[in-house]
Symmetry: C2
Subunit: 338 residues, 2 copies
Amino acid sequence: MQLSVQTAGSPPTSLILGPGAPVMVFDVGGTDLKYGVVDSTGRFAHQGTTPTARASQGEFLDQLSRLVAIYRAEPPERRPQAIAVNAPGIVDASTGVVVSAVNLGWTDFALSSALEARVGLPVVLGNDVQVAGLAEHRLGAAKGLRNALVLVIGTGIASAVILDGEVYDGDGYAGEIGHARMEPLTSTTAIPCTCGASGCLQTVSSASAIARNYSAVSGIAVVGAKEVMEAAAAGDAAAVGVLDQAYDGLALAIAQSVALLAPQAVIFGGGLSNAGDALLVPVADRLDSILSFHRRPLLLPARFGSSAGLLGGAVQARQLLCKERPAGGRQTPSPWRD
Amino acid sequence: MQLSVQTAGSPPTSLILGPGAPVMVFDVGGTDLKYGVVDSTGRFAHQGTTPTARASQGEFLDQLSRLVAIYRAEPPERRPQAIAVNAPGIVDASTGVVVSAVNLGWTDFALSSALEARVGLPVVLGNDVQVAGLAEHRLGAAKGLRNALVLVIGTGIASAVILDGEVYDGDGYAGEIGHARMEPLTSTTAIPCTCGASGCLQTVSSASAIARNYSAVSGIAVVGAKEVMEAAAAGDAAAVGVLDQAYDGLALAIAQSVALLAPQAVIFGGGLSNAGDALLVPVADRLDSILSFHRRPLLLPARFGSSAGLLGGAVQARQLLCKERPAGGRQTPSPWRD
């Protein structure tokens, strides 16, 4: 089975990565566990999805160990030499610890070392959004840029902040643009957010907020933002109002990021970005109208859809192996070699 | 003459830097040119202020060259081996070019190379706010922190963004938090900013905005924010209202930065920070009320006042000399040695 990589404006392809070590990637969601094995040519030799084992951390580690064991029986060109795990929530990549993943009930879970102990392979842990941003930076829409903001707009809104060519993670706490308050403190209309605060960007601009806010205003039940965009295109005033608010919020949040960080590009990923120009053009127009001397970023669609995590994880896992064995000779003792 | 370094909560001191190469620093303002010579013990051996030569770039370079020539006649322990120039505006530190300094009428001024050619010493160029932030990070309130935001609140509001232990400058465009729009796009009360945009943070929260907005509301002319804070303390409702708006703006801007970057501390510098807890406590209270799961930063007063630029420049100039002569042998040819 090969991974179908969704690319905006170009046909799906399965060869984005180049030759290198075979690696295995796990993209952990609250519901599903996606996984893939990249072979030595850079192709996804195997790929699959299975329900995430959620009963306990031990069961989850067992699940991953079993999957790794299956692929370690493959020939060398497809036998994983390193593992990447992308987890949701607050992840301290430097220590390999999931600090907090509410959807999975994990707190201070030392996932990297626990999995390494079970499978005997090096493991790199990353935050799912930041790893997807890494894929866009190394291989996708932000390729070649030093500074970029990768937005993932779906049920919530999160971002990967790429600065001076690296993902900046703020010890796992950075990138939470969906939980940046947009409303003035005196606002009487700030919408309560699931995080406990009010007026967060994602209360007006996420795909789910667009659907929910339209239903609240119109009384019409919808399942997603796509229906709201279709209703707006057909002249539905309530839909236009809800989308205006969503686009206003995105433009405002981007303008603030532009003032502080001056990204060369803002990349739009996540489900809402499937709207393409119907999303990018109104946000760009608003952004243009509120910036002055600032360095204006390119607004671009993400290249990779839901495959970004597997691709970014593969980059991370291969990078981990390079770190273990630097070109000029080993610099730190590695438990993985010799 | 020795430089009096203002420190919050501790007596002024003139020995903040350690032993190292003697260097000279210029802190260029639209009105005044401040300069200092740090000797080999780390003391400011000389320090002075003179009106900035503004007639032309050539005259400005002549002014700096004359001052350098004076101190090159000093004994070796006080003879500058490198020069730091801190300029306002958009500065590309990597190329040594002032991209734009409106107050000085400079555009694409290759200051570093022009001054190097005249004085025959290595020159490092930096943005004044970012160099002040560097001083706070290396020597002051943000010492030992990996990630911090240093706010400079005076006539305007600017910031130095310290990420993973380095000042992030976004090719010279980063840190412009004073020109981050705070008002929703639909706001009818967004105040026009000098930058051409509206609703920027500094239209409500800078020291000059506090004075100006109070005068507009009360009809009472004041020269600075201090008078407004005194009036508020005495129960003046107009002053309380203007300060509420200023503190709300700062808390909102900080909350947004916290969501995106998760700084470990926010350092308050610039004239308004002289208010101390009268500023920090109301901002901290507001910030606490609008954050949820976010990593909450320490709010701290800057250690250095107007001396931060000279100190940070001295760090940069000494660092430049180290780069010219790496410990493991020279890595790039240097025109300055041998």
